[in-house]
Structure formats: C-alpha cells, structure tokens
C-alpha cells in the first residue's frame, strides 16, 4: 500500500475511533478526547494532502456491495492541495473545539458529527469517480447539518437555519448529481478519466450550467448564498470556521474539477458567466458585510465576497486561456487558488476569534462591544492580523493573492502588444474595478470590525467584564494568525507549489525568487514581501529612536478628560457604533441595499415643537431573499394549501385514487 493509501485508511480508522469515543466517553472527557482525535484526523489529512500535492501517487480502493465499480480514492495534486486546505482548517478547529465546546455544542451527537464532517471533507478531493465524489459530498453535508443543529432546542433561529441549510444543500447536491448524470450519459463512464467529453457539445453546456449551480451554491455565490447569513452565524463558532474556511473550498474544488480537469477549453461564454457570477458575488457580499453590525453575519457575507473573487479569477483564467494568453491565464488561476488558501487561513481565524468574543462576552453584536483589545490581547492580535489578511493589506496572505490577480488581469488584455479581443478588453477593466471596489469596502468592513470590537471603550457591561479565553483556544488563534503571516511573507514557495496543480509547465507561470518572494515571469512582475518588511524597518528606525528619546524627556500623561470639548467626559454610549460607522455607506448604496427605516418621534405633551424622544430602527435585509426566494416560497406555500384538499386524510378518497390509477393503467396497457 502506498503512503497516500495508508494516510486515507488511517483517517477512516481515526474517524471511526472518534465516533466510538464520542459515543462511549464520559461527558467530562468527551470534548477533550474528541478534540484530540479530530486533531489527529486533520494532521493525518495534512500529511496525506501535502504528499499528494508534492506529486506522490497512490490511493485506496474500497469495494462495495452495490453492483458498481469499487470506490476509488486517489487524490491528484489539485486534490492534495484542497485536502491540505481542509485539514489545515481542521487542525485549528479541532484544537479550538477542545475547550470551546460546552452545553449542547459538546453533546454526544455533535461529537459524533464532527469527525464525520472532517473525514467527509477530506474524501471529496480524494475521490476519482463521480460515485465516490457524491458519496463523500453527502457525508460532508450530513455531518455539517448535524453540527449546525447542535443548539436547536434552545434557539428557534437555529432550527430555521437548519431548514434553509438542508434545502440549499440538497438543491446543490441535486444539480451536481444531474451534472454528473449528463456527463456520464454522454461519455459512458463514471470515473473522472472517462467523463471527459467534447466541450462544445450541448451535453457539455448543460453539464456546465448544472455544475455551476451546484458548486456555486456550496461556494456561497449569489444568488444561491441565502443560506450563508443564516447558517454561519447560528452554527457554533468552530463549526462556522470549518464551514467557511474548509467546506466552502470544496465547492471551489468542484468548480475547478469541472473547469480545469473534466471540461477544459470550454467556450468563451463559460469564462464570462463565471466572471459575472463571481463579480456580482464579490460586490454584493462585501456590501452586505460592510453594513452589517452582527460580527458573524459580517464574516459570513465576507465569505461570499472572497469566493466571488476566487471565481472571478477562475473565470478570467478560462476566458484568457481561450485567447491563448497562457501566462496571464495561469497567473489568474494560481491567484484564485492562493485566494482560496489564504481565505481558509484568515477566515477560520476570524470565525474562531468571533467565537472567542462570544465565549468571553456572550455578545456578537458589534454595537455592544468595544475595548476588548486591552482585555483579550491574544484574541485581539490574532483577529487583527486575520483582519489585515481579509482587507488585503501587505505582508498578509490576502494581499499576495489579490496582487497576483490584479497583475494577471492588467496583463491579460493584450498579448505581445496586440489587443486579444473586445470581450477581454471590456471584461478585464471591469474586473479590476470590481476587485478595487471590493478591496476598498473590505478595508472599511474590517477596520469597522476590529476598531469597534477591540478599540475604544466598552459599550456594554458584558464587554467591560470580558476575560481572555483559555490557553488552547489562544493557541489555535495564534496558529491561524501565524498561517496568515507566513503565507504573506513567503508566498513564493507556496505559489510555486500551487502552480504545479494546474499547469503542465509551472515554472513558466510562477517562480519563487529571493527570500520567499514571488515572480510571474510570463508577465514580468515581482513581489518580495520580506524586502518590504526590511525597508519598513529601515525607515522606521529614525522614527522609533526619536520616540524613545523624546519619550524619556517628555513622558505621556493619562487623563480621564483629554479634549472633552463640552467639559464633561463623553460617555461610552456616545461613541460611534458599527451601525453608525456604516451609515454613510448605507446612504451611498441605498438603491442596492434597500434598507427599511422606522423613525418614531414622541412629542412632549404640551408642544408639538418639543421632542421627548426619537426611536430609529434600520434593518438591511438580503435583497435576494426578499425579492427572489420569498415570492417562490410563497407560491409553493399557496400551491401546497390548494393541494391539501386533494389529500385530506379520507381513506375513501385514497381508495378511489388507487382505483382510478389502476383503471388508467389498464386502459393504457390495452391500447
């Protein structure tokens, strides 16, 4: 047996062990045992994925009783990369869950579901035929649904989130199943090597649309993202981290599997369609995130944004490859993959950080937080670094990925100085503009998230009494932040490795230069983050020295009332909140967000001109949910009420139905 086969088998074994321990262990030991075993599963997956990414081959053959080929698990390099992403997030989440879970989150059911979810996510990228792919996909969905529903008994919103999640997951699954069915019918096989068909044929087009709907739903793309703002905030934080950091990437893997391996060289409209969906998701996601004041809703919508950018890169690479701009196409695809990797690092850290805040304060509404930086320094540092990653600020992972995407786009419009096509020369500037607006709004979003939660003064009792979380949770947060920084400081080796997964000639696309810098030889661009750090350190020396000198001579004073213009110290309630921070943006994008405002003015009894109090309520709802899904759901509901008369429970009526059916069958047969 090969190393990869052994790794996969060990994972399955550890998974079974974790399920057994969850069922048998005493409640006091359950979380610790489960956490350790899940960490081991993730570490095994990490090693297996890494060796697959480095080019090791081999796999596992699982014979099944059904009259089909055996299930074949043998990840290629691309699969290895995604196993690596999933298990990296898995390590963070498992460590964290060891001490974060309590109450219903630490129930027997939840700890049975956790290893099932983790192993399921590992098996999807390892699958080499559609049957094992779909099976692993369903195991993953099942595990995550159970984990989400951990707390359904005490909170009604969790149950509603569970229904949305199940419905949308099954919709995704249906589309993927249909896509594979179309491909299998056209090609006559189920294994990925047999599934390839002519990309121009109608079957390929139908399959592409079905796959885009299916995988797009899992990857939280607009308009199939409606489950995200309900599910990710309601799930326990370590589960949201796993879902957003890892599970969503499986949707990306599916899209890559279709667009790069099964149906490469599709027509131009495939690339344009993916770019449109990706761009719309990026803009809509970040706009909703920037106006949200619920920390976890904000992070959930930001996931939609990031996945939108990944798909934008994928679409651009497909479009450019069609015009033979290979260097730019490869760079765009590597950028999309780097975005996926870096998103896994920073978003799981952010969700775990949000979990730490909830753990310490019980609040996830930013308007009631504040001043946590002094009270929870480790959480603040990790959350801050991950926020920089999400805002694509230099020396974090997010920056490198976005830089590479922009480079590939601005060099994609031309090939050897000639314009490649009208479509590309309109699509590329629009894509750059979308990325720029997205990046700008992401900056605002994460300045808001970090600044309101961790800086200034506490806005509630709960925030004022916050204490730092237990050491294991701190360790997991610190590890996540370390990933974000390491990927940002040493992007070269990572990018070179990632390039192997998609290009037959990887060194032409991406090379590692200097101390971990990255270079795109095909389009002539270089970035060396370590040099940037060295330069910053050099220019910072005189500033810091002068601060030390002047600090010794003129020490600072801390006062309660520095510049209280009116004379009395402004109360913490008077600070800007997350809602007020986003208010200018809500006004600017009023037409897109369509916020509902409710202003109630109570006048003083004696005079209409004097106001006793004013109440303002503003809600920003999801436009897609209210305008697209509600009407459809209402239609079904009405139809359901009508159909209820047909099946009203009367046995006579049912018998007459069977009789009528029998008659019809007999008539049809006799004709």
């Amino acid at each position: 047996m090969t190393g990869i086969g052994a790794g996969l088998l060990l994972q399955l074994f550890l998974g079974a062990l974790a399920v057994a321990s969850a069922l048998l262990a005493a409640p006091s030991l359950r979380s610790r045992a489960g956490g350790i075993l899940c960490t081991l599963i993730a570490v095994t997956g990490f090693v297996t994925g890494l060796s697959a990414l480095l080019g090791a081959t081999g796999g596992l053959l699982i014979p099944i009783a059904l009259p089909m080929d055996p299930l074949r698990l043998a990840p290629d390099r691309l699969g290895g990369l995604f196993m690596l992403i999933v298990s990296g997030v898995g390590i963070l989440v498992s460590l964290y869950s060891m001490s974060s879970t309590r109450g219903p989150d630490a129930s027997r059911t939840a700890w049975v579901a956790m290893p099932v979810f983790l192993v399921g996510m590992q098996l999807v990228p390892a699958a080499t035929d559609s049957v094992s792919f779909l099976l692993a996909w369903e195991i993953m969905t099942l595990g995550s649904t159970v984990l989400l529903l951990a707390d359904h008994a005490s909170r009604a919103t969790v149950a509603s989130a569970g229904i949305w999640y199940s419905a949308m997951s099954q919709l995704s699954f249906f589309f993927i199943l249909a896509g594979f069915a179309v491909l299998a019918a056209a090609s006559g096989g189920t294994s990925f090597t047999n599934l390839q068909i002519e990309p121009g044929s109608w079957a390929a087009n139908v399959a592409f649309v079905l796959f885009l709907l299916g995988f797009g739903g899992k990857a939280e793309l607009v308009p199939l993202h409606v489950w995200v703002p309900r599910v990710l905030p309601e799930a326990p934080s370590h589960v949201s981290a796993a879902m957003s950091g890892a599970m969503v990437k499986i949707g990306v893997y599916g899209a890559l599997l279709v667009c790069v391996r099964l149906l490469p060289d599709g027509p131009a409209w495939w690339g344009i369609a993916i770019m449109l969906v990706g761009g719309a998701s990026a803009l809509y996601g970040i706009l909703q995130a920037s106006v949200s004041s619920d920390l976890k809703v904000l992070l959930a919508y930001s996931t939609t944004e990031n996945m939108g950018l990944v798909f934008l890169g994928l679409g651009a690479s497909m479009l450019l490859r069609g015009y033979d701009a290979t260097a730019a196409a490869d760079a765009a695809l590597v950028a999309a993959l780097l975005l996926a990797v870096s998103h896994a690092a920073f978003k799981s850290t952010l969700f775990l950080g949000a979990g730490a805040i909830i753990h310490a304060t019980g609040e996830r509404n930013l308007d009631r937080l504040g001043g946590l930086g002094a009270r929870m320094p480790v959480t603040a540092a990790a959350f801050g670094i991950a926020s920089l990653g999400a805002a694509a600020i230099p020396i974090t992972s997010g920056f490198v990925a976005e830089w590479m995407l922009l480079q590939s786009l601005i060099h994609g419009g031309r090939l050897d100085g000639a314009v490649v096509s009208v479509a590309a020369s309109v699509a590329m500037p629009l894509a750059v503009a979308v990325i720029a607006l997205t990046a700008g709004l992401a900056l605002l979003t994460f300045v808001k998230a970090y600044g309101i939660a961790f800086l200034a003064r506490p806005r509630s009792r709960a925030a004022a009494d916050a204490r730092e979380v237990p050491p294991v949770m701190q360790l997991s947060l610190a590890l996540g932040a370390l990933f974000v920084l390491a990927l940002g400081l040493l992007p070269g080796p990572v990018a070179a490795l990632v390039a192997h997964t998609i290009s037959p000639n990887p060194t032409a696309a991406v090379q590692s230069v200097g101390l971990g810098g990255v270079s795109l030889p095909g389009i002539g661009a270089v970035l060396d983050p370590i040099m940037l750090v060295v330069l910053s350190a050099l220019v910072a020396i005189p500033v810091v020295v002068s601060i030390i000198v002047s600090g010794r001579r003129h020490p600072h004073r801390t006062v309660d009332l520095p510049w209280g213009g009116g004379g009395s110290r402004a109360r913490p309630r008077m600070q800007y909140t997350a809602t007020s921070y986003a208010e200018p943006l809500v006004r600017v994008f009023d037409d897109v967000l369509k916020p509902s405002r409710d202003v109630q003015v109570t006048h003083v009894a004696e005079s209409r001109y004097l106001v006793e109090r004013v109440e303002v309520e503003q809600r920003v709802s999801d436009v897609f949910e209210t305008r697209l899904y509600r009407p459809v759901l209402n239609l079904f509901q009405r139809y359901g009420i009508v159909v209820r008369h047909v099946a009203n429970g009367s046995i006579h009526r049912y018998l007459s139905y069977s009789f009528a059916a029998l008659l019809i069958v007999l008539i049809v047969v006799s004709l």
């Binding site: 600020i393 720029a436 910053s536 220019v539 600072h556 800007y576 208010e583």
Partner: protein
C-alpha cells in the same frame, strides 16, 4: 555603479529630501492661500515650528485608549516614508527585488489610511468615530478610480512598475499628451485629492464638525502622536504630488546614476512639487467643499474617466 547601490542612494536621497520638503510644501500652500485671501499668513516655515513644538510636548492620552494611539501614528509615518522610498521621485532606478509596482504602492498607502482610521476610533469619542467612518467610506470609493487610473497608465509601458512608466513617458513624450493619458491623469488627480483630504472632498482648514474628515480623526491625539500624524499626512501629499508631477513633466528625473544628475534630479523634483503645491493652493481658492453625500458623485465621475481611459487605450489606439 551597480543598480542596487544606486537604487539605495536614490531612495535615501528621496527620503531625506521629502522629509525636509513636506513641511515646506505645507507652508507654501498655506502661505499662498493666505496671501491671496489678503491675510498676512504665518510664513512658509510655520509647519516646521509646529512639528518642533509638538515633539517637545508631553502627549496626553485618554484613559481606556490602547496601544493603537501610539502605534497608529508611527504606522502612518512608516507608510508615508515607504511611499518616498518606492516612488520614482528623484530617480527611476528601482530596487531589483521590489520594483515600484503600482499595486504595492497603493497598498502601502492603504496601511496609512487604515492606521489613521483606527487611531480615530481609539479615542473613544463621537468625533473620532465620525471622521474615521467618513474617511474609510471615501477611501473605499476612491479605490476603483485609483486602480483603474493605474491600469490605464500601465498600458503603454506594458508593466505596472511606475519607474518604467515614467521612463516610457520621458523617452516618448507623445504618450503624455495622448487622450488616454490625459483622462487617466485627471482621474488620478481627483483620486489623490480625495486620498490626501484636500478640497473639494475635505477642507483641511476647518474644525467644523459637520464637514470634518481628516481633522476629526486627529482631534484626540497630542504631542508627538499628533506630530507623526501631521508629518505622515504631509509626506503622503508631497510624495503623491511628486508622482503626478513626474508623470506630467518627467524631465529632470535621474535614469542613469551620476552625481550631477542626482543634484539636478533633487532640484527639479523640489521645483516641480513646490510649483504643483502653489497651483493646488490657487486652485483651492476657487473651490468649495462639496457635501459629503455628493462626494460619491464626484468619485463616480472620476471613475468614469478612468474607465474610459482604459477601454479607449484598448479599442481606439
């Protein structure tokens, strides 16, 4: 002389020159405005005196404010100094492993934007938050214009390295007056006005709460914290004006290292930045600050210009 060494010398000269030049530029801008408005003015050295005064004071910090109030101003200062290192101001000889890539430069500038916004929030007052919120909204809306203008400028040179762009303009001046370049430069200038909090987006001379953007964020800072915030912002303005002037009038910039060339480069960029500062100041006399909620319209207009510039360079040329 080898390229790396000459790049280091030029970067060093640029930093020293701009640290000296930035307060002077502010002094000139304020003095010109005062003279035109019929006031005596404080003289062109006043910003220098202000900085010296601020550095010699004990900073006062509010209870409950965090390390951000200390680190933020330094981060802004470092980001502005990095701009002076990376932009081709005196010479166009880039560092080999970190060329003056425009996307990197924009991101370095954003570090300063973020630091300032966080300092504004950290004071724990309504003013700071208000300034921070408006500042970030404007920064977010400026970003598309900025990157598209950069994109348009990068097309003739076929690279996003700003040194190469300036050299292309120096060796084939016809590029400068092409419609694409003019559109891109106008868009870039509007974006820079917004980024550096000048009229018509922000009024640098006001302390009226309804109109403040930049000033509101620095209200809680004092002593050396305030000094770094001020000098950092001035440096950013000076460096960006230097960039625009080198894009419009690239002559005088050092492309081959020599002592005489360096001296000429220093003189030419000083003159260019100061002249542009005077023009800016005169221009601002005729402008009023637009309402905050009309700023997006202005920025949408500049975005349209930048977008036209990019598509025109593909479809028309």
């Amino acid at each position: 002389m080898n390229a790396a060494l000459s790049a280091i010398i030029i970067a060093f000269v640029q930093v020293v020159l701009f640290v000296f030049l930035a307060p002077l530029l502010m002094g000139v801008i304020r003095q010109v405005r005062a003279t035109i408005e019929g006031r005596a003015g404080a003289g062109i050295w006043q910003p220098w005196r202000d900085v010296r005064k601020l550095l010699a004071k004990n900073p006062v910090r509010a209870e409950g404010s965090s390390w951000m109030l200390r680190a933020g101003p330094v981060a802004l200062m470092v980001s502005s100094l990095l701009l002076c290192v990376l932009l081709p101001l005196v010479g166009t000889i880039p560092f080999p492993s970190i060329p003056s890539d425009l996307f990197v430069i924009v991101s370095v500038m954003l570090i300063g934007v973020v630091a300032l916004a966080l300092v504004g929030l950290d004071g724990g007052t309504a003013f700071g938050g208000m300034g921070s919120s408006r500042h970030m909204t404007v920064a977010a809306l400026v970003e598309p214009t900025l990157l598209l203008a950069v994109y348009a400028l990068s097309i003739p040179a076929q690279t996003s390295t700003i040194s190469a762009i300036v050299e292309t303009r120096l060796f084939s001046p016809a590029v400068i007056i092409s419609p694409v370049s003019v559109l891109a430069l106008v868009a870039l200038s509007i974006a820079i006005m917004a980024e550096t909090a000048r009229l018509p987006i922000d009024n640098p001379g006001t302390h009226l709460e309804l109109t403040m953007l930049h000033e509101a964020m620095t209200l809680e800072a004092s002593g050396r914290d305030l000094a770094w915030l001020e000098v950092g912002s001035w440096l950013k303005l000076a460096a960006l004006l230097g960039l625009v002037s080198n894009l419009v009038v690239p002559w005088g910039v050092v492309t081959e290292f020599s002592a005489l060339g360096l001296a000429l480069g220093v003189v030419s960029i000083t003159v260019k930045v100061l002249v542009l500062g005077v023009l800016l100041s005169v221009g601002e006399i005729f402008l009023a600050k637009v309402r905050l909620f009309q700023v997006p319209e202005l920025l949408a207009g500049s975005f349209a210009l930048a977008f036209l510039a990019v598509t025109a360079s593909y479809l028309v040329v």
